[in-house]
């Protein structure tokens, strides 16, 4: 009797007779929990091998750095992550200009558009949109590459050749992603600010002097540094999530595609949670902000 029960339990596919649905739900829960453990394990080993990425696989890290900045495949034709993130933040800045200017002019203080740019672009638009761009270009690209390598059994081949696959493939990508985010963030901030300024001064015809005065008065350099640190954090989270989903892709070509989708979804959610956590921690309840000086 015991033996048959055990046999049934071992065969996951065979339905058991008693409380089948409850058992299935329980299995799902346990599986999700194990999945979390496997992810944490993977992240720990990626972080542990960071040294190897610097010392042993320097060439690979530099190669990835170049590839991430300027893109590969069809993305290289339009300029890679740099151009995509620049474009996204430029559009974000333009939207802030349109919405902000029209709302402010409703109460007659459109002169403060420069202030809105210094406040909203630096604190929300640049870090969030840069993170979205990172997840879409560099992150999803990494998932696609690693997933294809996994499906083609290239990762197993690396292991057979005695190369540490985690260090060689994921730690190098993490390092390259974090390094490449520095110039990308600069592009993001500049494009967001330029986007707002161009729309306000050229489309709406506000004088550049008034705009620049309020922009410079309210631009807080410390905010810029915090938002840079935010993006750095998000880059780490995004690269870890995307490499995990690529590294563990299963189920042929469609599996690779699904892994890319799942990774993008997860990393967007995690990145916005990181933004909120860092914002609340950094700016505090009163927002570290003084309009009247």
């Amino acid at each position: 009797m015991m033996a048959t029960l055990k046999g049934r339990r071992a065969m996951a596919a065979a339905p058991s007779t008693q409380f089948y649905r409850i058992k299935q739900a329980g299995d799902k829960l346990v599986d999700g929990f194990n999945q979390l453990g496997r992810q944490a394990n993977f992240y720990a080993s990626t972080l542990r091998s960071l040294g190897d990425a610097f010392v042993r696989y320097k060439g690979e890290t530099i190669r990835l750095l170049a590839q991430m900045g300027l893109g590969s495949g069809a993305l290289a034709l339009i300029g890679g992550a740099t151009v995509v993130i620049g474009f996204l933040t430029f559009a974000g800045g333009t939207v802030i200009a349109i919405q902000g200017y029209s709302t402010l002019s409703g109460i007659g203080v459109e002169a403060l558009s420069g202030f809105v740019s210094a406040f909203v672009n630096v604190r929300i638009v640049a870090p969030l949109v840069a993170a979205i761009g990172l997840a879409a270009t560099i992150g999803a690209g990494a998932t696609a590459q690693l997933g294809a390598m996994r499906i083609n059994e290239e990762i197993d081949a690396l292991e057979v050749m005695g190369i540490r696959s985690v260090a060689y493939l994921t730690s190098t990508r993490l390092v390259a992603g974090v390094i490449v985010v520095v110039p990308l963030f600069c592009v993001a901030v500049i494009m967001a600010v330029v986007g707002t300024r161009l729309s306000v001064t050229m489309t709406y015809g506000q004088s550049t002097g008034a705009y620049d005065h309020y922009f410079k008065t309210f631009l807080n350099p410390l905010d810029l540094i915090w938002s840079f640190l935010q993006v750095l954090f998000m880059a780490i989270v995004i690269m870890l999530i995307h490499t995990y989903y690529g590294f563990t892709a299963t189920g042929g070509p469609v599996g690779v595609g699904e892994a890319v989708g799942r990774a993008t979804r997860t990393s967007l959610i995690m990145a916005s949670f990181v933004t909120v956590a860092v914002s609340l921690a950094v700016y505090g309840q009163n927002g570290n902000f003084h309009l009247s000086g």
Binding site: G106, I124, A140, V260, G261, S279
Partner: protein, 253 residues
């Protein structure tokens, strides 16, 4: 060299052609009702949970920043107006976009891409079935409908989340928050946001279907196609957002 220069232009051209074909195929019979229902359910299923997960941090962030500003100028009572403005006009449609493009469009592209490299689409054509009519049209319509509905969900959850956050953490009067909601936002803004999210859903699905049908070269090809779907749909959506916001602001005046 000329080939690399021509490639993006060709891609834009064939994307345009696919969009026109899809538009023309919508009224043609037989309409793929069963596929439409299946796809709508699928898009809604994969999008709902990420939407709710994404709307919370986005709302908290915007409401937090807006409230800091309002408290500083002594207008914390208008917190509801600021939150409604930010959530209805921007956060709602943008979160909808991110989810529809990141969750639904990627899955569509992966599915169609896998069918393309297994030559299932060629098989359909041989059997006299137009793949655009049978597969692309229902997907595009499904994504449009779900984006439209998700926008409503996001807005409601956003406003409720903003209420909880403002009242419990930033000590805004609950009545003032609720009372201020309709101060800056009226029918025109809500209508603009609705149209915006429908446009977002449609373009994300069109890009996904185009990239899925044009895929080539095994697993790496499918992975790249999905990656490009995400990138191009985000770019298209931000572009549409700029234009639609501009038009919406002018219309609402």
């Amino acid at each position: 060299m000329t080939d690399t220069a021509k490639k993006p232009v060709r891609a834009v051209g064939s994307f345009y052609a696919l969009s026109l074909d899809t538009l023309l195929a919508i009224p043609r019979r037989p309409f793929a009702w069963r596929e439409l229902v299946v796809q709508t359910w699928f898009v809604a299923r994969v999008s709902l949970a990420p939407t709710l997960m994404l709307v919370v941090p986005f709302t908290v962030l915007t409401v937090f920043i807006v409230n800091i500003l309002l408290t500083e100028i002594g207008a914390a009572d208008y917190s509801g107006s600021g939150a409604a403005l930010a959530i209805v006009t921007q956060t709602g449609p943008v979160v909808t976009v991110l989810v529809v493009a990141g969750a639904a469009a990627t899955a569509m592209c992966a599915d169609l891409g896998a069918r393309t490299i297994r030559e299932e689409l060629d098989a359909l054509r041989v059997m006299g079935i137009n793949p655009i009519q049978a597969l692309v049209v229902p997907r595009v319509i499904a994504a449009t409908i779900v984006a439209l509905l998700l926008n409503g969900c996001v807005t409601i959850f956003g406003l409720a989340g903003g209420f909880l956050f403002s009242v419990t953490f930033q000590h805004v009067t609950p009545g003032a928050y609720a009372g201020g909601l309709t101060l800056l936002i009226g029918l025109a803004e809500v209508a603009t946001a609705t149209v915006k999210s429908a446009l977002f859903g449609m373009s994300a699905a069109l890009i996904a279907c185009y990239k899925g049908i044009a895929v080539g070269g095994g697993p790496q090809g499918v992975g790249n196609a999905v990656n490009e779907t995400v990138v191009f749909s985000f770019m298209a959506l931000f572009l549409i957002n700029v234009v639609a916001t501009g038009v919406g602001v002018e219309v609402a005046k």
